[in-house]
């Protein structure tokens, strides 16, 4: 029997999928081969997720055919796709927070002895899988809830490997990983590649694509635009294919700013064993970045400034006035107002089934109401303003916010807080898992807000982002600020060495090193 001209392992032909009136995928052809890393590129809403969902049996296409290893396949469910060797690591983590790591890894088919689950074998299996991706530090008996996001993502990857994939799909699977983890994932992918596994790789980080992919396919508005081999296109060309328009500078220029008078002053803030005498100030018009490895207290610092954490020691001052921040409601109206764009938009930022309008006004309802009655005229004007200002792409404000793409959902979260006109804006990794175009809009917006007089404190796991958009960067390590970088010192080398707490660069943050 002869093979068709291309020896594609997985081959999709003429695939279309509609949701209501929207073409999520429109007559798409897609092929990938064994032992290759195939990148799938495109902005949010380009159809990447739908493509992945079709391949992994989560949704079925309206039209078109799918061939796997020369056989026509039509998966009725994700487990059918799993059985055929297609394993997907989704952007939304699929772990059960209250089960242990080892329970999670073997959740679908735990090792059994006499028909009962063999806990010991299960633990050993988890240990092996975690070791194979360099995560010996994760104890398989820990509950997933107690792990930081980056470790959870590694567990998710271990879980996928446990299903011995023939096609492994990584959908933004590295978006929450630290740089050292990313290295481990690269090594694992190289190993799988050598074993002949076909890998589909979705990421918004261009340098990852560059380092990993053998082939890349670009999608835009539900259509397949182009597939090309590694090295035949440069970054600018790729970005242009993705967005279909020219992009100018990646980051808006930073103003030559002398240190303004501090608006937000944090003095000796400590909380349990996660924050250790943190002192930092942010002035009007300033964007200050928080950097460092994941889980070094950055999230706790933002939460404590927003009144979420209880029994925080130390002082927080706004315009020189000491604040007693006991809840987000208090923080929202403290001084000129504090806003927090939280880490996870799906569980902390938005009510997904509720409408865009309802989500937008939630934080500013008090200002949009007369007494306790909501003023509908004010509300619809404010909603229209916010949608206009952030250029949120929507059908109607009454649509559920879950119908929006990830980037637009994040814009709704940000818009919701801008409607409260805050003086201090805290952001927890606001560009995680969103597309290049939206990221740039967010950078521009932050700079505009700073120019209008806001003080912005901004945690990011992406070094490029810290370098490109921040006036100052404070690096955290083990609950302390170990270094504050300014001006030319904000570069990758200093950020990385400070994050790893390697001595030898100027430090003026926490003077006390060690315990």
């Amino acid at each position: 029997m002869t093979h068709p001209a291309d020896d594609a392992f997985l081959s999709l032909t003429g695939i279309s999928k509609r949701y209501g009136g929207v073409h999520a995928l429109n007559n798409v052809d897609f092929h990938c081969g064994r032992g290759k890393v195939h990148a799938v590129l495109g902005e949010n809403g380009a159809g990447k997720s739908t493509l992945i969902k079709i391949i992994s049996g989560v949704v079925r296409p309206d039209q078109g055919t799918m061939m796997l290893d020369g056989q026509m396949v039509n998966f009725q469910s994700p487990s059918a796709a799993n059985a055929a060797g297609i394993v997907c690591i989704f952007q939304e983590l699929s772990l059960m927070p209250d089960l242990t790591v080892s329970d999670n890894i073997s959740i679908a088919s735990p090792p059994r002895k006499f028909g009962l689950i063999d806990a010991k074998a299960q633990r050993m299996r988890a240990e092996e899988l975690l070791a194979s991706i360099g995560c010996e530090d994760v104890n398989p008996l820990m509950r997933v809830r107690d792990l930081p996001l980056s470790r959870r993502q590694m567990v998710e990857i271990a879980k996928a490997l446990g299903k011995s994939p023939k096609i492994l799909i990584l959908d933004e699977a590295t978006s929450a990983l630290t740089s050292s983890d990313v290295e481990k994932v690269y090594a694992m992918l190289a190993r799988l590649k050598a074993e002949g596994v076909a890998i589909l790789y979705i990421s918004h980080r261009m340098h990852e694509i560059e380092a990993l992919a053998d082939n890349a396919s670009v999608f835009r508005n539900g259509r397949h635009i182009e597939t090309f081999a590694k090295g035949t296109r440069n970054n600018d060309e790729i970005v242009q294919l993705m967005i279909g328009r020219e992009i100018s500078a990646h980051f808006p220029p930073k103003p030559a700013l002398k240190r303004p008078k501090p608006l937000l002053e944090i003095e000796n803030l400590s909380w349990e064993n996660r924050l250790d005498h943190v002192s930092l100030s942010v002035g009007r018009g300033e964007i200050v970045g928080l950097g460092g490895l994941d889980g070094q207290g950055q999230k706790e610092l933002l939460l404590s400034l927003f009144g979420v954490l209880k029994r925080v020691e130390g002082d927080v001052k706004l315009d020189g006035v000491k604040q007693n921040l006991t809840s987000p409601r208090v923080a929202k109206s403290a001084g000129g107002g504090i806003a927090l764009v939280p880490e996870d938009r799906k569980t902390e930022g938005l009510m997904l089934p509720m409408s865009i309008a309802e989500n937008l006004v939630l934080a500013s309802l008090d200002e949009l109401s007369a007494g306790s009655l909501v003023d509908e005229t004010k509300v619809s004007a404010a909603v229209a303003d916010a949608i206009e200002r952030l250029k949120i792409k929507i059908g109607s404000p009454e649509d559920a916010v879950s119908t929006l793409s990830g980037g637009n959902q994040q814009k709704v979260v940000i818009a919701k807080w801008l409607m409260t006109k805050p003086d201090v804006i805290l952001l927890n990794d606001p560009t995680r898992g969103i597309d290049v175009g939206t990221k740039q809009e967010i950078y521009r917006l932050l700079r505009e807000l700073a120019d209008e007089g806001a003080a912005i404190l901004f945690y990011s796991t992406d070094y490029d982002e810290l370098i490109g958009s921040c006036d100052r960067v404070a690096i955290m390590y083990d609950g302390r600020i170990i270094s504050e970088l300014e001006g030319d010192a904000i570069n990758e080398k200093y950020i990385v060495s400070a994050s790893l707490n390697i001595a030898g660069q100027k430090s003026n943050g926490g003077a006390h090193v060690g315990h």
Partner: protein, 324 residues
């Protein structure tokens, strides 16, 4: 999975309106089936007379008031299982106190129970299913203890009878009470910041909290409204039955939850329209009445009653999957 392109009149309704339309159609089915039965059996159609329908609304108003309060609690993804003895305690307090303080005393009992429930759920973070069940048992014990040693007054006061049983222009006053509460509910849920907060908390409490919504205060208020509604309903029921008695609320908690859910409110909170709860109450009251006209034995009534609730929810559930 179901074909997305299939079109029926129902699919044009919004997802919140669909259950209401289905429940309303089912009410018609009950009325038609009941009328056919009486026509064949007795040769008349009492179900379609205004007198019968008004009487059903009067009976429905007791359940309707409870269901209104229950809906608030369900919308914030909680449940109140202390309704039966809150209702009985309200009624028994009203009759025991008597005179003009009867009604305020009963509502005071409701307020107290609601604050207790709200505190337990919002501050102590005890799951409402357990906490309110415990409170229900405590209330029951208190009421039995109160009536155990001596026999307090159990007859309803004139005012209670006036509100619950007497009529103006042929319409029982209880219906006016239900109507007033219903108008209040619609305004509360649609027009106030409190209403917005209720839906927000039911959808995602963490996101509501991080948006600066006073989640604890709203939770407590929802439980207070639920308990006050239950105690008010107890006062009305005592007025209607002319006396208060132990266990008078036992038959109300499940129908109240069922009415809310049949009306399309998501049992997990965050979604539902008040009109649906009204329709759900009417459906349950009519179903009960028609089954008793048919002289269905108690066992059969319970089976049919349960099957109706399950099958209605199955219908809604399927619609939900297609929509998502």
């Amino acid at each position: 999975m179901t074909d997305m392109t299939r079109f029926s009149p129902l699919s044009r309704l919004s997802r919140d309106d669909k259950p209401i339309a289905i429940a309303a159609m089912f009410i018609l089915v009950i009325l038609i089936a009941g009328t056919c039965y009486t026509l064949v059996r007795f040769g008349n159609a009492p179900l379609l007379t205004p007198a019968y329908l008004i009487q059903q609304l009067q009976i429905g108003s007791f359940l309707g008031i409870i269901a209104a309060g229950m809906m608030l609690v369900i919308l914030i993804s909680q449940i109140d299982l202390s309704v039966p003895w809150t209702l009985a305690a309200g009624a028994m307090t009203a009759t025991a106190v008597g005179g003009e303080w009867a009604l305020p005393a009963a509502l005071g009992v409701g307020l107290f129970v609601g604050l207790l429930n709200g505190f337990g759920v919002a501050y102590l973070r005890i799951p409402s299913m357990i906490f309110t069940l415990g409170v229900n048992a405590v209330m029951r014990g208190l009421m039995v203890a109160q009536t155990g040693g001596f026999a307090p007054q159990t007859a309803a006061t004139d005012l209670m009878r006036y509100i619950a049983a007497e009529r103006t222009f042929g319409v029982p006053h209880a219906i006016f009470v239900w109507l007033a509460i219903s108008i209040g509910m619609v305004i509360l849920l649609r027009k106030t910041t409190f209403g917005r907060a209720i839906y927000a908390i039911g959808n995602k409490e963490a996101a509501a909290y991080l948006s600066g919504v006073a989640t604890r205060r709203v939770t407590i208020l929802a439980f207070v409204m639920c308990s006050v509604a239950a105690s008010l309903s107890g006062v009305l029921l005592a007025g209607y039955a002319t006396k208060a008695y132990q266990g008078m609320g036992d038959a109300y908690v499940l129908p109240a939850i069922a009415a809310v859910v049949i009306g399309g409110t998501n049992i997990l909170g965050g979604r539902g329209r008040y009109l649906g709860t009204v329709v759900g109450v009417i459906l349950i009251v009519l179903l009960n009445s028609v089954l008793s006209i048919m002289e269905m034995p108690e066992a059969g009534r319970q089976i049919i009653y349960g099957l109706v609730i399950i099958s209605m929810l199955l219908v809604y559930g399927r619609g939900e999957k297609v929509a998502s």
